[in-house]
Amino acid sequence: MTTSGRMELVCPAGTPSALRAAVQAGADSIYCGFRDETNARNFPGLNFSPQELAEGIRFAHAHGSKVLVAINTFARAGDTDPWRHAADTAAACGADAVIAADIAVLDHMATQHPGTRLHLSVQAAAATPESIGFYADAFNVRRVVLPRVLSVQEIAALNRLIKVETEAFVFGGLCVMIEGRCYLSSYAAGRSPNLNGVCSPPEMVSYDEDREGTAARLAGFTIDRYAPGEPAGYPTLCKGRFKAGDKAGYLFEDPVSLNAGSMIVAFKAAGVTALKIEGRQRGKGYVTEVVRAFRKAVDAAEQGHDATEIDNILAGLSEGGRQTTGAYRKIWR
């Protein structure tokens, strides 16, 4: 579906204070999840209780923003009730949409809460007109969060062939694997995004010092090594350094984060409805800064400013790490 309206800025909140920060910084929508394994950012101390969600939705609505609730892991066999309850609670709290990936959750929403908007999570990895069409027909899904493997040209072509809205990631952490179809984490450490809402789980992380510096390990597997004093990183599996053939290095992805801010105008031309910022595990300082900058950038794009001017607005956003436009430019592949 190619939309011509104002692009929606969808922003992350891992805590109620981050939700308030995002609303105040100009988010059109905030996405968040419950403090359990029903959402794909199930980290200790993060996310919302049902009461916090209800309060957060009231706060957002009072300020003209929407709240999208992510129930985007896969329900556990023989114990699907927590996922159904999460869906029921989100609907009861007045969520503006539920973001889901599991057919069990989508089916429950479509049959029990037909009045609540349904968005297809990136974890469903729906990238073709046939796949998206299936979810639209079977569950009345209204928007699909696009897998981060499509180029902007492919998104434009896709939008001409589908009847639902599209949402594209513009900023934040970058999964190099197709999300929802990656079991690297459970292979090494026993817990995974699909099963537990966690990738490279913190309880399996260790930083071990030896003569050569620090080894960042996940469940005993060395994911990266740092010389003494060298900035360390969290040992996310696909961002580590490994050996293959006669080479050693970042085999899967360099330690970069996504910044497709320069492509906002192209996204609009491609018919994208909503732009998504990643980072529910990030603090409110990050949320405020990034949302504020993207608010300005999206408004500038809507007013017809060109990519260079938008680049200038977003120039201060780098956190010191390197950035990439990811798959949106074909060269990434």
């Binding site: 990936a101 073709t128 179809r181 079991y183 597997f221 050996k243 990434w332």
Partner: protein, 299 residues
């Protein structure tokens, strides 16, 4: 007790046409496998190389008494790849769906779902069964007990477990073979052909860890589910899936046959497998609810 059947899953690796022909002819002639999957699932760019040999392979397999399943791409992207899926879905033979893309074209007629499709619970399994799922091979990270729970709630579907081979762990939009060789995916020169079992990925401390195969990432270790057939029957699991590798797959198939016919116990089967030239050590953690890289069974 219902007999546990054996399936040869789709080949993940890029083998030259001649090797494909020799391999499947031998499978057709020298194994007692009930089902054999054919077709490319990992990379659509490889299809022009293998497409010409599949018809004769299918014919030989069917003559050898094997039920042939046509596997489809796990991450279709181009118009050509989507068209290929639609064409395969129109075939009268059983088709394996590895992406929801194939579902609308196949809905209403029987199909197999492969481990790339996210079937994590009985509600999803029943939904797919209503659309035609006859066999479900769930994602590799699910345990034996979890699959048993789903299978118990969904008796109309035959459940199949990924039982032998490097585990398919991830897919990407990016080709790691091309990246490693400093090439672009669109002009990749098919360097993945050099690694018939995938290319080993070790940690910086030289621990064997993963393997890359074009856009796919697999485990370095060989998952081998070796349990008493009664354990499978008790969980309504009707099939075991063996994933093709460069080792002697006829011997692998014979070993699993001996296991499910109770001519060989799991310990003995593990010993026989460990004597083959495997690209990695044996693991089985996933089946027992552990990290996939672990070995739960006594070595």
């Amino acid at each position: 007790m219902a007999r546990v059947a054996l399936t040869l899953g789709p080949l993940f690796f890029h083998w030259p046409a001649e090797r494909l022909r020799n391999f499947y002819f031998r499978i057709a002639d020298e194994t007692s496998l009930e089902r054999v999957h054919v077709g490319e699932v990992v990379c659509g760019k490889r299809m022009p190389f293998s497409d010409p040999v599949w018809p004769e392979i299918i014919e030989r397999l069917e003559r050898g008494g094997k039920e042939v399943v046509l596997s489809t791409l796990a991450a279709p992207a181009t118009v050509r790849e989507r068209k290929a899926i639609a064409e395969l879905c129109a075939d009268g033979r059983l088709v394996e769906i590895n992406d929801i893309t194939a579902l609308p074209a196949r809905s209403g007629r029987p199909f197999v779902t492969g481990p790339f499709l996210n079937v994590y619970n009985e509600a999803t399994a029943r939904f797919l069964a209503r659309h035609g799922a006859a066999t479900i091979c769930p994602p590799v990270e699910l345990s034996l007990d979890t699959v048993g729970t789903i299978a118990g709630a969904c008796p109309e579907v035959g459940f199949e477990l990924f039982a032998f081979g490097r585990l398919p762990l991830a897919l990407s939009g990016r080709c790691y073979h091309a990246r490693l060789h400093g090439l672009h995916k669109d002009s990749c020169q098919f360097t993945c052909e050099q690694d018939p079992d995938g290319l080993a990925v070790d940690t910086l401390d030289d621990q064997p860890f993963l393997a890359i195969n074009g856009v796919q990432t697999l485990s370095a270790q060989i998952h081998s589910l070796l349990v008493e057939p009664a354990e499978l029957a008790a969980r309504n699991i009707r099939r075991l899936r063996l994933s093709p590798h460069g080792c002697d797959m006829v011997e692998v198939a014979r070993t699993y046959r001996d296991l499910v016919e109770e001519r060989q116990d799991p310990e003995g089967a593990r010993f026989v497998l460990s004597c083959l030239e495997l690209p990695g050590t044996l693991v089985d953690g996933y089946a027992h609810g552990l990290a996939g890289s672990q070995l739960a069974a006594r070595a």
